[in-house]
């Protein structure tokens, strides 16, 4: 078994041992989304119009919630040193950590969002579009968030700093993710938006592991 798989399996097993951590993130997502219809009122037209943006923003915040511990836990118990000293590229370790974050956050959020979309009166096509954009867009959030988590490692108030770093970088993904559902509602195709979201994910995939590794090495000094 390669180091990448070993690390991924280890992190998933750790999450499995403490399911509450993921539960809190998903519960936050549900509560945050449900607050909007309560605050704005039950007009279906308004709710339909803002649904995609609300669900995307809530997904972004929920993803950020669990990012603070992504490397901090390894930093505090000394296992980060073992990753830094593993005889295989640290970039792969960074990718494994972001992958595990996506599996336990991005993936369940993508599955949960269409269910909540029903409460906003979205039709079948929009729900599918919401699922597809989140599925392609959330890996970018995990990668960018992973970079922010690595950069803020060991800093005081790292949670707030992390959000400040990650949120602006996530804006393109947010725009095209939420925008896709609206263009579909306007009778246009979905593919352009999905292609751009995919491109953003690939750019993040091609750059962030190296930046994360560099940030982790710095934190290890």
């Amino acid at each position: 078994m390669s180091g990448f798989t070993a690390l991924l399996v280890r992190d998933l097993r750790l999450v499995w041992r403490r399911p509450g951590d993921v539960g809190v993130v998903l519960a936050f997502f549900v509560v945050a989304v449900v607050l909007f219809p309560l605050g704005i009122g039950p007009e279906t037209n308004t709710l339909q119009r803002i649904a995609a943006g609300v669900l995307w923003c809530a997904a972004l915040f929920a993803a950020l919630l669990s990012l603070e511990r992504l490397f901090a836990a390894d930093y505090e118990d000394g296992t980060l040193d073992l990753l830094l000293l593993a005889p295989w590229p640290l970039e792969l370790a960074a990718l494994a950590k972001c992958t595990s974050h996506w599996i336990v956050t991005g993936l369940p959020l993508s599955l949960l969002a269409p269910v909540l979309g029903v409460a906003f009166g979205l039709d079948g096509g929009s729900l599918l579009a919401l699922f597809a954009t989140l599925l392609i867009g959330t890996p970018t959030l995990s990668l960018i968030g992973g970079l922010a988590a690595a950069l803020t490692l060991g800093a005081r108030k790292s949670g707030a700093l992390l959000a400040l770093l990650a949120l602006p970088l996530c804006v393109p993904t947010l725009i095209f993710g939420a925008g896709a559902v609206e263009t579909l509602a306007a009778g246009e195709g979905l593919w352009t938006h999905l292609a751009i979201l995919g491109a953003l994910a690939l750019v993040a995939l091609a750059t962030t592991p190296w930046a994360i590794a560099a940030a982790l090495r710095q934190a290890g000094e």
């Binding site: 505090e76 000394g78 073992l82 000293l85 593993a86 295989w88």
Partner: protein, 210 residues
């Protein structure tokens, strides 16, 4: 007795490190041959941990080289890391995993096989604790688990930061036995320590006396 140059496996030349603008050590040179143990001593803050981290490649030195069998370790850091076993002042264990799981994960992260845990567990009397979650163990039991990880790695060079921390007398004896076996098999070890390691023929380097 200093080893002849041909036997020297690890050669440190002119190593210098700064931390926060302060010079920790400067122009530090020593060689370590197969089967040799170097004990790093010195006051708190004299740079023992920094030296260990610099040898491992975790801290980039400001000057100097770390050579393994003649080759600069900075040229091929992955091959170098494969030759190291690292015991930091933190144990490097996951509290939510059991002793056996921690050991097998550490082995897999090194790219090694996770079988034959038994020998390492027996060496540190951990057999009865193997299934226990590390979070529930005492500090000494955790340290023993971390030491078992070192034994399991089969790396030629052990870098140990305060290995005797929190260990009781039987565990210290177990550690000595394991260390002596490692040295007898041609292994090398550098250990930062305040306590006497109690291994015959150990060389000592006192830091912070410049």
């Amino acid at each position: 007795m200093a080893p002849s140059p041909s036997e020297i496996a690890l050669q440190i030349d002119g190593l210098a490190c700064r931390r926060g603008g302060r010079r920790v050590f400067d122009r530090l040179s020593f060689g370590l041959g197969e089967g040799e143990l170097l004990a790093l001593t010195g006051r708190n803050g004299s740079g023992k941990t920094t030296l260990l981290r610099a040898v491992a490649g975790l801290v980039r030195p400001d000057a100097g080289t770390v050579r393994w069998q003649g080759a600069d370790t900075a040229d091929d850091p992955e091959a170098w890391r494969d030759r190291l076993a690292w015991l930091g002042h933190l144990d490097g264990l996951k509290g939510d995993l059991s002793v056996a799981e921690n050991l097998s994960v550490a082995q897999r992260l090194r790219g090694g096989a996770a079988d034959r845990l038994d020998g390492a567990l027996v060496a540190f009397d951990l057999r009865s604790l193997a299934a226990r979650v590390v979070r529930t163990l005492s500090a000494g039991q955790r340290r023993r688990t971390a030491l078992a990880r070192i034994v399991l790695s089969a790396a030629p060079l052990w870098l140990l930061d305060e290995p005797l921390n929190a260990l009781d007398v039987p565990a210290q004896q177990a550690f000595r036995a394991v260390l002596q076996k490692h040295l007898a098999a041609g292994g090398l070890a550098i250990a930062a320590t305040h306590a006497e390691l109690g291994v015959e023929g150990a060389r000592t380097l006192e830091l912070g006396r410049a």
